[in-house]
């Protein structure tokens, strides 16, 4: 069975629950972008070129609060830095020595937490040489599917009943916090999540335009140095 078979197996992954959760989160993002007066074409452009919800939220946060571009870049970069260790963890299990780098660069554009968790959990059932095809099948389908749903939702989001919009907006924090907690590998990851929650309101109060950057740097540093001081979370 070749790559095409496993690509299609990846495509069939679209029927799983995390896909629904991410898509609903992105529908929530569409409503948020609509509220922030960001046009449909810009919203689609953000989703397809960035393809990482936390980065997208930092970006929109910066676009609406008139933050200088350098601070937005710094915030987005800090939110996205997790992709480096994520890719370093998963790539040795799916690349083979003959895969050209540009192919990896294209496929890894679709690397985000949902596809990472989905693929990593299933690699033991996929032959090593077909894992790249399997991952690409899933992550590409996920991107196309959720972008279509998101774009449709953007156009009708003013007609949603308020209770539905509130429910949607609430999926993002709960889905991402639980997903990140679940995919955390060591205590430092979990400790950093807790520090982020505690520090966010403090820095929002004292330094609203650079609060996220400070929360990341200070909370992350604290988690790094205290990671051996607490028992397993």
């Amino acid at each position: 069975m070749g790559n095409w078979h496993w690509f299609k197996q990846g495509v069939r992954g679209i029927l799983h629950l995390p896909v629904l959760m991410l898509t609903l989160s992105l529908v929530g993002f569409a409503a948020l972008a609509h509220d922030a007066d960001i046009s449909l074409s810009q919203t689609i452009f953000i989703q397809v070129t960035v393809w990482a919800l936390p980065s997208m939220l930092v970006l929109v946060d910066g676009m609406t609060s008139n933050t200088p571009i350098t601070v937005v870049i710094l915030g987005v970069a800090l939110a996205a830095v997790r992709f480096m260790p994520m890719i370093m963890a998963i790539l040795p299990e799916m690349r083979n020595p003959k895969t050209p780098t540009w192919v990896l660069m294209v496929i890894c554009h679709f690397m985000a937490i949902t596809a990472w968790v989905f693929a990593f959990a299933r690699f033991d059932k996929v032959p090593r040489e077909n894992r790249l095809a399997f991952f690409f099948g899933f992550s590409l389908t996920l991107c196309i599917f959720s972008t279509i749903i998101m774009a449709l939702a953007y156009q009708v989001s003013t007609n949603f009943p308020p209770v539905f919009l509130v429910g949607l907006a609430f999926i993002i924090p709960v889905y991402f916090s639980t997903m990140l907690w679940k995919s955390a590998r060591i205590n430092a990851d979990r400790l950093a999540l807790i520090f982020g929650v505690i520090l966010a309101p403090i820095f929002y109060y004292f330094a609203p335009s650079i609060d996220l950057v400070l929360v990341g740097l200070i909370g992350g540093t604290a988690a790094f140095f205290l990671r051996h001081k607490v028992k397993r979370l």
């Binding site: 936390p54 980065s55 987005v76 370093m88 308020p162 807790i194 929650v197």
Partner: protein
């Protein structure tokens, strides 16, 4: 220079590419290039992952505490209560993301209903 500096033409798209896509993509590329050389459990990687996790947790907390959109229809106490209960349900019931979301949503929406908001 901000997003609102020039609303016309190509500027918003260039802003998105420079401020959103590039600073995200750069880490994906670095991950590819470094995946041959750096151990995944190196001190540096643990540190960068900690910074990223803290920042994202801060972002998610801001979405609950200081929502800019529709979520501010629900009062602050209800939002905090629903988020904490949802996460606790996830934590204590088999680390199930679905259960966490369902419990959080039930508290938020029924709470809002009984408070007469929806």
């Amino acid at each position: 220079m901000t997003y609102a500096a020039w609303m016309e033409g190509w500027w918003p798209f260039i802003f998105i590419l420079i401020a959103g896509a590039l600073p995200t993509e750069i880490w994906r590329w670095l991950g590819i290039f470094l995946s041959k050389n750096i151990a995944e459990d190196s001190e540096l990687l643990i540190f960068v992952r900690s910074v990223a996790n803290a920042l994202i947790a801060g972002l998610l907390t801001k979405l609950v505490l200081f929502p800019t959109g529709v979520l501010d229809a629900a009062p602050l106490g209800l939002r905090i209560g629903a988020a904490l209960t949802g996460f606790a349900a996830f934590y204590f019931i088999r680390k199930s993301i679905l259960i966490g979301i369902l419990i959080g949503e039930i508290i938020l929406l029924f709470g809002g209903y009984f408070l007469g908001i929806f």
